[in-house]
Each structure stands twice: as C-alpha cells, then as structure tokens.
C-alpha cells in the first residue's frame, strides 16, 4: 500500500515560506506581465487583446537581430568562461598543496566582495584612453599615442567573462574534488597523453559541473545590463537594454513585458537544447 501524503503542521510550517516566495515573488508578477504583454494599444489609446506585441518582435529586424546577437555572445562568453575556469579549478583541486586550497579559493572569491558596478568602473579606469594601461604603454614607448580600448565588443566580452568567472569555477572545483587522482595516474601509466586525459577522463567526469556552471553563466550573461551598457558603449545593444528602453524610455510596458517573456522562453529553449546536446538531465545537473 503506497504511503499517503499527509498535511501535517511541520510540513505546513516548512512549506509556507517557500510557497509564499514562489507565489508572491515569481508567479504573481509573471501572471501580471503575461497579462500586460497581451494588451495592445493603438495610437488613439484604444485597448484590445492579442499577440501584436509578440509579432512586433519578429516583424522588426532590430529587435530579433539584437536578440540573436545577445544569445550568440552569451554562448560565446559561457564557452570562454569555461575555457578560463577549467585550468583554474584543476589547479586548485589537483595541483596546489591542500593547505593552500582554501587560500586560493579565497583569492577567487575576493573580487566579488565589491559590487559589479564598482568592478566595471575599475575596468573602465584601467582601459580608458586616459587610463592606467594607456599611461604605462605610452611611458614605456610601446605606443606613441594612447588608444581607446573601451567601447568595443572585445572589451565587453572580456568584462562579461570576468564577471561570471566565479559562477563557473565553483561548480567545477566541487565536481573535480570528487575525481579520484588514481584514475589520472592510471591513465599516465597506460601511456595516455594530456589531451587524452583531458577529453576522456577529466571532462566526462566534470560534465554535471560544467553544465550547471554553464547554465548559471549563460543566464547571468543574457540578463546582464550593466556590463554591456558601460563597457560596450556605442555599439553594444543588449536585449535587456531594449526591455529597459521599452519600460522606461518609451513607456510601452506592454511591449516590454512581451520582450521579457520572449527572453524567458528563448533562454529556456537554449538551455534545453544545450542539455539535449550534452545528454545531461536537469535533475542531475542541479544537484
């Protein structure tokens, strides 16, 4: 006989905060957003209901091109973050002496004690035309006159990778800790080279960590507003900025809500495709 599900006092006590959180902070606002996104207003201010706000997205090339651009850059940033974070995580868990591991993790965490805004401004002080790096390069005679390093896509991607490093490194560290060193030693004994070990042992073992790190980094990058806006400058229209513009600059909350929903749906879609391609299950990845 299957166990019946009883509603007991402790269950209610423990479940209430979670349910309140979910309903008040996530479900209700989204229902309201959905309602707004289906509201259509014409030039005279007459209200009707329909999908016109969503159709606008597909009809107007600036909107979907910006979205494609944002998604492609986010995937690129996620991959680059992985490439940078894997050696770091490997060094911390496998190479460094155990008593330094805590210290190294600390170094990794330290930049995140200050807010993202401050870190981005820090990069801007370093990279701007009258900034620190240009100053040294011209002093040393490497450059004859300072060059502008801010306000292009390369700087923006670098800033985004920097911002999301931690969220990739931490899951990788925890997943690599469970990798038995003897597997790597055995592979060396059997004559495998570094490449084979990386692709046949380390990466397959780290896959759940890689996927969960990637999901977090991808989501954070896709939804980032500060970094593209401040470091990307004149050429960097990010999709979040368009949502902001619809809400704040053109007072078109209905269009903005539709964009918000499209961002939610399309980013979920990208993650679903990513899970399918890497043959991972969401339930395993989020553990």
């Amino acid at each position: 006989m299957p166990r019946r599900f009883h509603i007991t006092l402790p269950l209610v006590c423990f479940l209430t905060p979670v349910l309140l959180w979910l309903v008040l902070m996530i479900v209700l606002p989204h229902v309201d957003l959905l309602r707004m996104s289906l509201r259509v207003e014409d030039i005279e201010g007459n209200v009707s209901w329909g999908f016109a706000n969503y159709l606008n997205f597909f009809k107007e090339p600036i909107y979907w091109l910006t979205f494609v651009r944002t998604a492609v850059y986010s995937i690129m940033v996620t991959f680059m973050t992985f490439v940078v974070a894997l050696p770091v995580a490997f060094y911390i868990t496998k190479v460094a002496a155990p008593r330094f591991q805590g210290f190294l993790m600390m170094l990794l965490l330290m930049p995140f004690w200050v807010s993202e805004l401050v870190r981005v401004y820090g990069w801007m002080i370093l990279l701007r035309e009258s900034g620190v790096i240009n100053h040294f390069l011209t002093r040393l005679g490497i450059l004859t006159q300072p060059i502008e390093m801010l306000y292009n896509d390369v700087t923006m991607v670098m800033g985004l990778v920097y911002t999301s490093m931690l969220f990739m490194a931490v899951p990788l560290v925890s997943v690599l800790e469970s990798l038995d060193d003897s597997l790597i030693e055995a592979a060396y004994d059997l004559g495998a080279n570094m490449g084979t070990i990386l692709f046949r042992i380390v990466i397959p073992h780290a896959m759940p960590g890689i996927v969960s790190g990637s999901i977090v980094v991808f989501m954070l990058t896709l939804g980032n507003y500060l970094t593209p806006n401040l470091m990307g400058g004149k050429n960097s229209l990010w999709f979040t900025e368009q949502i902001y513009n619809q809400f704040i600059a053109s007072f078109n909350w209905n269009q903005g809500s539709a964009f918000g929903f499209l961002l939610l749906v399309l980013s979920s879609l990208v993650i679903w495709v990513g899970l399918k391609l890497t043959r991972q299950k969401l339930s395993r990845v989020v553990q």
Binding site: I43, G45, E60, I62, L65, T66, R128, E129, S130, E148, L150, Y151, N229, G233, K234, N235, L237, Q242, N245, Q246, F247, I248, A249, S250, F251, N252
Partner: protein, 355 residues
C-alpha cells in the same frame, strides 16, 4: 514616593512614544541629483520640524515609479513640465495644485503662467516651476573653438572626439539645426515620424565619429576634463562646473537655439504629507534659499529676486554664455503628446543598433 516616580517615568516614556511620530514628520521627495542641497534640508528641518528624505532619479524613472504605485510612496516629485500633461491624462498619478497655497509674489509670474498652461489637464493644472536650464554644446576651445551648432556634432573634423546622449533632446536639437521645427509637428505623428527618420539617418551616418553615447553626467564631465572628448551636447551647468576648473571648457548656446527645460514641483496623487509639500515648495522658492541653491548648483530658478543674491562668478556664467538674442532664441519644450516617445524610442534603438 517611589511609586509615583515610576508612574511618572512610565507616563513620560508613553508620551515620548506618542509624540515621536509628530516630531519625526517626514517629506518623501522624488527629485533630481543636487535639487535638495543638504544646507537647505537642514534649514527646512530647523524651521518646520519636517525631515526631508530625497530620492534621486530622472524623468523616465520618476514616471515609471509613480505609475507602478499609482502615485503613492512620495509626497512631492519634480518632473519636467513637458512630461506632465500626457502622463497625467493617461495614468492620473498627480493631484491638482492649489495655487492659493503658494506665495505667488516670490515666483516669476511669466514662468508660473507658462507652466500652468503646459500642465493643464481637464481644467486643472499640476505643476509649479522650480529649476530651469538648457542643453546646448560644451566645447574645449583648444580643439573645437569654432563649433556653433548641433550639426557640428556630425562634422568629421571632430572624429572620435564627439559625445552626446542617445535621448530625445539630441533628436530635437539636430532637427532644429537641420532647419526644421520638430515642435510644430508634435500633433502630426506621421510627419513627426518622417522627420525623426531623417534625423536618425543623420545620426547613423555620424556614428563613426562618436566616441561614446554618454549616459550619466559625471561620466561626460570626466571625458571632457581629461580631454578625451572635445565637443559634446550637454547641460550648461556641467559646462560651468568644468569652466571653474579649466576656462578652456565652456558652454555655447547653439545657433539654432538652446533647448530649454523647466523642472517643476508636482504632488503625487496619493501623497501623505501634502501640507509639508506646499511648505517645501514655498521654502525652496524663497529668494534667499533659491540663491543658496543656485550658488551651489549653478542652475537658475523661478524665484523672483534671487538673481540679486547670486555670487558674482555664478552671475557671470549667465552673462558670458547667453546674449539677449540667445535667450530669445531658447526653444522651450512644449508638452509631449502621448506616443511620440514610442516613435523616438524606435529611432534611437535603430541608431544604437546600426553598425
């Protein structure tokens, strides 16, 4: 004896608790950075016992905040006069101003009338003029001494040294410099859209010349100060602050007219401390207080007689940068009809997305 003492103490504590909310009367002010100098907040508290809590923001966020709460959470807001009537007609976030509660003899009459007219909705007016200023060109005389008009922002001579905001004033300034009158087309959305398309095209062509589109006042000041930018479209006050540090940087009223704005006082629909709001309005427009504000922030105000109390250097700014002809040529923003922002928003997105 001891017991009465305890009784008295308990009574005293109780009275203090009851009295506390009265002495802690507050005024929630939604305003622009710099519009509530600490000196004046302290003076106001000493005079009336009201503590002013200021939240700093801009026009768009002000409207969004009040719209989200349907006009609650703040006792007084300071939107620009051209952004009140259409917003009020649609979202009803303000309450009518009772002009009898204002000390009218300390307000410049022509400005009060203009703002009353421009914020009129269904027979009620919703604004009291406070601060005015203009946007125009800020130049570094060593490099851009001969820049005269908004079209110079699109001149290849200044490649990589130009900066402006990607906001509606830029579209309107460039339209005026092209010899058009965008304000005359405010009530003709189709013609306005065509004009804005044209302006947008110009801005896209001029995009390679732009260093960056600035978004905050401190950032553009830093760019001008360090010499990274030689020519910018910005407010005169930023320019005057830089002029005080380096006289090579100064404001120029463009040939086709500086764009004039007036920031107002407007009372949100669900304000809690309406009396306090009127007190603050009358306090800020009292000549000696308005002069403190102007000497600190450099902006002019609608206060009558404050001019005589300006510091000489502050007064000199006005005479140096604005001839009488320049003042007559200022294009004051008329109220923005609904839907224009959407047209402009699309054009601005296009410019930003163009490669």
């Amino acid at each position: 004896m001891k017991r009465t003492l305890v009784c008295l103490m308990v009574l005293g504590a109780f009275l203090a608790l009851v009295a506390a909310p009265v002495s802690a009367e507050t005024l929630e002010l939604l305003t622009w950075k710099g519009y509530a100098p600490k000196e004046l907040i302290d003076k106001f508290q000493a005079e009336t016992g009201i503590t002013v809590k200021a939240t700093y923001t801009n026009n768009e966020e002000m409207i969004a905040k009040l719209r989200a709460t349907r006009g609650a959470g703040f006792d007084l807001a300071q939107p620009s006069q051209d952004r009140i009537s259409s917003v009020q007609a649609k979202y009803k976030i303000y309450q009518p101003i009772d002009y009898d509660k204002l000390k009218k003899d300390q307000i410049i009459a022509s400005m009060l009338e203009a703002v009353k007219k421009n914020t009129l909705v269904d027979g009620n007016s919703f604004g009291v003029p406070h601060v005015y200023g203009t946007s125009g060109l800020v130049i570094n005389k060593n490099f851009a001494g001969d820049a005269k008009d908004y079209t110079d922002l699109l001149d290849s001579k200044y490649k990589g040294r130009v900066s402006y905001r990607l906001k509606r004033p830029t579209l309107i300034g460039v339209a005026f410099a092209m010899g058009k009158d965008p304000f005359a087309l405010y009530n003709d959305p189709t013609a306005y859209q065509a004009l804005m398309e044209e302006v947008g095209q110009k801005l896209i062509e001029g995009k390679p010349l732009v260093k960056n589109y600035w978004t905050n006042g401190d950032a553009i000041k830093e760019s001008l100060r360090s010499g990274e930018v030689h020519l910018a479209m910005a407010w005169e006050v930023g320019a005057w602050q830089l002029y005080a540090e380096n006289p090579d940087i100064d404001f120029v009223a463009p040939k086709s007219g500086a764009l004039g704005w007036i920031d107002t006082f407007a009372i949100p629909a669900k304000a809690k401390n309406v009396e306090g709001a009127y007190k603050w309005i009358n306090f800020m427009l009292r000549p000696e207080n308005a002069a403190v504000f102007t000497n600190d922030q450099k902006y002019g105000t609608a206060s009558k007689g404050a001019v005589n109390l300006y510091e000489p250097a502050v007064k000199a700014n006005f005479t140096r940068c604005f001839t009488d002809a320049d003042i007559d040529n200022i294009k004051w923003y008329p109220p923005v009809p609904v839907k224009l922002e959407e047209i402009e928003g699309k054009i601005l997105d296009k410019v930003k997305a163009a490669q």
